[in-house]
């Protein structure tokens, strides 16, 4: 193990500048800048197709040719004999560049290339999705000839190829710039298309044994994932399954790649674009929402170099129809004779306030705001609970959670500001993932980790997990194999070995070189799933303290980090202030103008139990899906038993079915707000669509008014100000104490049993993906993963349908025998179509399940 004690100064070295001349102007740019980038900095646009700032130079399209002259050894500037591709050549001192503006040679070269690109291009611009925003169209106007001399036969292809249910390829429109293939190889690492054939027959093609000749179905790059819908095969012979394929549509400089959901739906010039932030995970990716007459037609990646660069996940891109689904709630509803009926806001608010006041008197109101709130909403919910309802029975976590986690969040995360950033991941010598499958649970984080692993830093990625996912292999990551529930053991033994101490004999095998984790700049990324592994958070904290590695917590949902800041946890007030601390309470009481109850409240499980037993008189529920809770059946029973339930929802749900009053709230696209992403960065967005729908904070404000409390959250501006009042000074008192969670004894796995491992896939049965059939087709098919030995023990082989069961219920899915998986463990996707683990089995990760061979056999799953 090497620990560098003399850390090199972190001050940025002065950037070395190179001075050269472009179109007669002397310009200085950082050394190593490509001519085409330097030209941009000088305000000179050189036409291009294959060039993309985030992809390695290719020099394939030749559209960016310029004339270059270089000084020779004596300093005489001599022109190079041929025009040069400005996208592949870096500037040099004394270089003289002449673009199309000052060089007839460059201008003719560009016009010549443009004519060649256009000659085989179809004239279907009027029906092409790209028409109107097409780099080929635009640059043909700016740098092309007015007419064509081509009178011969054009190259044609049958149209189009469906690469997946979501992505279509029209080959005759393709200019073979290779942006898409380079993206899928360099950025996402899940190459699904490749160049095939040669010369004029060269084309972007899907996997074809006759052409590409790869070993079919090889598993050398991690386990096979099969999409639900029809898909072509990727370059490794596996069915194409990518979470990032939509980016290829966006970077295609022509209309060759299109998305099925948007194809032929709109003209770019009819669209209004609004910048926004994606709501599907905690990365806070910048997006652009394109809408027309109040309807969202598509979403694109925004550009934010510090967060998502120019990439987004397919979920962030395509999963937007949920916000305008037919089951949107449009008016307040009140329950009358057991049925919900529309009501006026006035009536609904009066009934809600009266019911809440009653419930408050008969034991109190439990508050379950859910994890998808904006920061403004989260603060309003927190304040509503503490002031209007005078309770600390508030918990945003609609998932597996623990007291240890709540303490960890208060101790480490809350009020910590911007900690580890995406940029840090790219530069870190090593990153340890625990309780986190980055590609599935925080997609853009995966891209940054892969960039670090494949880039200059050569980030070593380690993952404590039961098997090496394809995502981990694509980051060249190392698996630290752990059965669910034993993560703490790995963390503790890493702590011991990295501190140079001897390991106990029964520690997990550590013939893996993990010393990079002790280097300065190493990062530990902890996922929310660690809450299900007793002692996990404690051990992660211990490792960070022992090695100096920085720690970041990555929840799945967009609102959870903001919720931690707002105090949507039973023991936490805004800014990391402990409920139990009188001084902390006093500060918040001053900001909010009301006394704050001093006793830490119940967590989600506690609230549900108290509702079921009648200890609590009622509940306020935000965006919570009961099926997401560890025991959905118990949650349903609890809400059924609850004296009074108010639900704030966008669409009808299992909660609204059980609510006495339903207050409709606006989805993100119809309101302004901000998310606090996992980095701690505030990601603000405006309302993309005009709407009369009210955001949560506004609804809570008027509801509080009925209860005689001023929530100071009537408008976004007031809500912001109200947040600021709690942030005037950072909390410098005692933080929430970390709880010393101890690992639970591993369960004894009996014959026919296995320990359940499970996490959510990026694309699954979540309601946020409702209404997007094309995207749904690219979700992974549920399988039960197990090692060959485990499968052998159950008498099943790869592809056999197995029944995974608990006393509560059973799930039938094909078995997928997975290399190097921890024995005695079976993995299921947590909430995929046909595989709802919490709901059907009532089980969570670490629980014992029974596995048997099912009678039927699914032949096509092989």
């Amino acid at each position: 193990m090497t620990v560098t004690t003399n850390t090199p100064s972190t001050e940025a070295a002065p950037v070395e500048l190179v001075t050269f001349t472009i179109d007669g102007t002397e310009v200085s740019v950082p050394k190593g800048t490509l001519i085409i980038r330097a030209a941009e900095q000088a305000g000179i646009q050189i036409p291009r197709f294959c060039d993309h700032p985030l992809l390695a130079p290719a020099g394939a399209c030749r559209q960016c040719l310029v004339e270059v002259a270089m000084p020779d050894r004596e300093g005489n500037v001599r022109p190079m004999p041929k025009p040069q591709a400005s996208c592949t050549m870096t500037v040099a001192p004394g270089m003289v560049v002449k673009t199309q503006h000052t060089s007839a040679v460059a201008d003719k070269a560009q016009q010549g290339v443009m004519e060649l690109l256009l000659m085989n291009h179809p004239l279907d611009c009027p029906v092409c999705d790209k028409g109107g925003e097409c780099p080929l169209q635009n640059q043909a106007m700016s740098n092309g000839r007015p007419d064509t001399r081509f009178v011969d036969v054009k190259r044609t292809f049958p149209k189009p190829i469906a690469l997946s249910t979501q992505i279509l390829l029209d080959r005759e429109r393709c200019v073979l710039c290779q942006r898409c293939t380079r993206f899928s190889e360099e950025i996402a690492g899940d190459a699904f298309i490749a160049l095939q054939d040669r010369g004029a027959h060269q084309q972007i093609g899907r996997y074809d044994e006759d052409v590409l000749g790869f070993a079919g179905g090889s598993t050398s790059n991690g386990p096979v994932d099969r999409p639900i819908g029809e898909a072509t095969t990727d370059t490794s012979g596996r069915p194409f399954s990518s979470y990032y394929s939509g980016n290829t549509v966006q970077i295609c400089p022509v209309g060759a790649l299109t998305g099925a959901g948007y194809r032929f739906r709109s003209r770019p010039f009819d669209l209004v674009s609004s910048e926004s932030i994606a709501e599907h995970d905690s990365c806070g990716s910048a997006i652009r929402i394109d809408h027309r007459r109040g309807q969202v037609l598509r979403r694109l990646s925004g550009e934010d170099p510090v967060v998502n660069e120019e990439w987004i996940t397919d979920k962030d891109r395509f999963a937007f129809p949920w916000q305008s689904a037919p089951d949107r709630i449009t008016t307040p509803l009140v329950r009358e004779n057991g049925e919900l009926r529309p009501a006026s806001w006035v009536e609904a608010l009066e009934i809600a306030a009266a019911g809440l006041a009653r419930a408050k008197r008969s034991g109190g109101v439990g508050v379950l705001p859910g994890g998808r709130l904006t920061v403004e909403d989260a603060f309003a919910w927190s304040r509503f609970a503490r002031t209007a309802l005078a309770t600390n029975d508030v918990d945003q976590r609609a998932r597996v959670h623990s007291a240890e986690e709540a303490a960890f969040l208060g101790h480490v995360v809350a009020g910590s500001g911007v900690g580890v950033t995406f940029g840090d991941l790219e530069k870190a010598p090593a990153v340890l993932l625990v309780g986190l499958e980055a590609e599935e649970e925080a997609g853009i984080t995966f891209l940054r980790l892969r960039k670090g692993a494949k880039g200059k830093a050569g980030t070593k990625v380690f993952s404590i997990a039961p098997y090496a996912t394809r995502g981990l292999s694509r980051m060249d990551g190392t698996l630290l194999p752990a059965a669910p529930g034993t993560e703490a053991e790995w963390l503790t033994s890493l702590t011991t070995s990295l501190a140079g101490r001897l390991l106990p004999a029964d520690a997990p095998t550590s013939d893996i070189d993990t010393s990079a984790l002790a280097q300065p700049g190493a990062v530990i990324l902890v996922g929310e799933r660690l809450a299900g592994s007793p002692g996990g958070y404690t051990a992660a904290l211990g490792l960070a303290e022992a090695t100096g590695a920085r720690l970041a917590w990555i929840p799945r949902r967009a609102g959870e980090r903001g919720g931690v800041e707002a105090g949507l946890l039973p023991g936490l007030l805004p800014g990391g202030r402990p409920v139990a601390d009188a001084a902390a309470r006093a500060q918040i009481a001053q900001a909010w103008g009301a006394d704050i109850p001093g006793i830490p409240g119940r967590d989600t499980a506690g609230i549900l139990d108290a509702l079921a037993s009648g200890a609590l008189g009622g509940a306020m529920v935000g965006g919570v899906e009961l099926a997401d809770l560890p025991d959905p059946a118990a949650a349903r029973a609890a809400l059924d038993a609850a004296g009074f339930v108010v639900s704030l929802e966008v669409r009808f749900s299992e909660v609204t079915e059980r609510a006495d009053v339903v207050l409709p709230v606006a989805p993100p696209v119809e309101r302004a707000g901000s998310y606090w992403n996992w980095e701690g960065r505030v990601r603000s967005f405006g309302a993309a669509l005009d709407s009369s729908a009210l955001p949560d904070h506004r609804v809570l404000h008027v509801l509080a008014q009925q209860l005689g409390v001023d929530l100071q959250a009537a408008s976004p501006a007031e809500a912001h100000l109200s947040i600021a009042m709690t942030q005037r000074s950072a909390w410098d008192g005692e933080r929430v104490a970390a709880e010393q969670g101890a690992p639970a004894a591993p369960p004894t796995v009996g014959r026919g049993q296995a320990v359940l491992a499970t996490w959510r896939l990026q694309l699954d049965a979540a309601r946020g993906q409702d209404g997007e059939q094309f995207l749904a087709g690219t979700a992974k098919r549920p399988v039960a993963r197990m090692s060959a030995a485990t499968a052998g023990g159950f008498g099943v082989s790869d592809g056999d349908v197995v029944t995974v069961s608990t006393p509560r219920g059973s799930i039938e899915v094909p078995a997928a025998v997975t290399d190097r998986m921890v024995d005695g463990v079976v993995w299921l996707p947590l909430a995929s179509v046909g595989c709802r683990v919490h709901d059907t089995l009532g089980a969570a990760a670490g629980d014992l399940v029974t596995v048997t061979a099912a009678a039927r056999h699914e032949g096509d799953a092989r």
Partner: protein, 452 residues
Amino acid sequence: MNLTPVLTDTWDKDHSWRLATYEGAGGYAGLKKALTMEPADLVQAVKDSGLRGRGGAGFPTGMKWGFLPPPDGGPRYLVVNADESEPGTCKDIPLMLASPQHLIEGVAITSYAIGCDHAFIYVRGEVLHVYRRLLNAVEEAYEAGYLGKNIQGSGFDLDVTVHAGAGAYICGEETALLDSLEGLRGQPRLKPPFPAVAGLYARPTVVNNVESIASVPAIVAKGADWFSSMGTEKSQGHGLFSLSGHVTRPGQYEAPLGITLRELLDLAGGVRAGHELKFWTPGGSSTPIFTQDHLDVPLDYESVGAAGSMLGTRALQIFDESVCVVRAVSRWTDFYAHESCGKCTPCREGTYWLKQVLHRIEAGEGQDSDLDLLLDLCDNILGRAFCALGDGATSPITSSVQLFRAEYQAHIDGHGCPFDPSASALFPYTPKTTSPGAALVGAVGAGTGGHR
């Protein structure tokens, strides 16, 4: 000027390809001598000899070796480019067929000189017989201790892998060759980094032509001065001149650089009896064509360049007056369109277009504007493509339109080809489409074209 048989010396011997035949003629003296020398001295000797790349570009071989960075303990590779595919070029394949040990010995010496212990020979896949012969030659060399571990007791180890390509002209481009050798799609790489810095498997690599490497043993055995005594001041040494087409005795003529076609034709018995020279290529189809006017151009790098073409691979294709220049150029263009790798726009789309225009002209459907279109398209391809393939595709078109514009125009004006293709054939040949064109030579306005 006389012939200087060095590489071709033993081609007429019984079983010329056997190691024993090669050793009997003094083979492997160069390697034995080289193994007693310092590698740096070997590089210097090749520099001193003036040997220039025989694959066409003529880059000084010793200087290329010198570009390798200092050893860093990691592997360094020699890759022999034996992917001879240029139309008209036929020197490396006969050499490897008749006397493969020249190449193997050259590989051993070069590898020793550059510090390589694993060399690759990338052979054009279509020539299966040559591939087999090379495999056998390598096996013989291993058995005789010229390859393998501790070669000739020197402590120098060398493995040689013979790899067959899959039939792509582009893989003769050195970086496309390296990608192909690595199992990737054969398309040229972006340079820099150059192969000398990051070549095969991103390690320092020398890529040399077969004839260049095969010339090394004699340079080592007989000395740089012996080699540089042949040829001209700047184009030194011997080279294979491949005469083909309408020539009485086609074949390989090994002679000092600087010999003229007139001298070579004398040695080869002249142009086909009863015919006269119309045009010829000095170095394969990628080099601008010459005519009778260039019979006395010394065939060295500088003189051919000064006359407006390139020495290339010294593939002298001789065409007599029976040949339609439009037809010949059209066939070459078909080749380039077929072999363009597709990576860059000018070559991929340009050759596709050129081919169609030439076919139109040949079929009598050309327009007056087509000749200027051809020249302008060539101007838009030459120097704009990613690698030299696109440049090569333009050479025959540009040069033939310059030299034979009237003949092109006659195809357009006459709505067909005025030539009889069977008259140029050296064997009984019936055009695939019968047409009156051949019978109506000179009959302007015959309507339909000649052969189509």
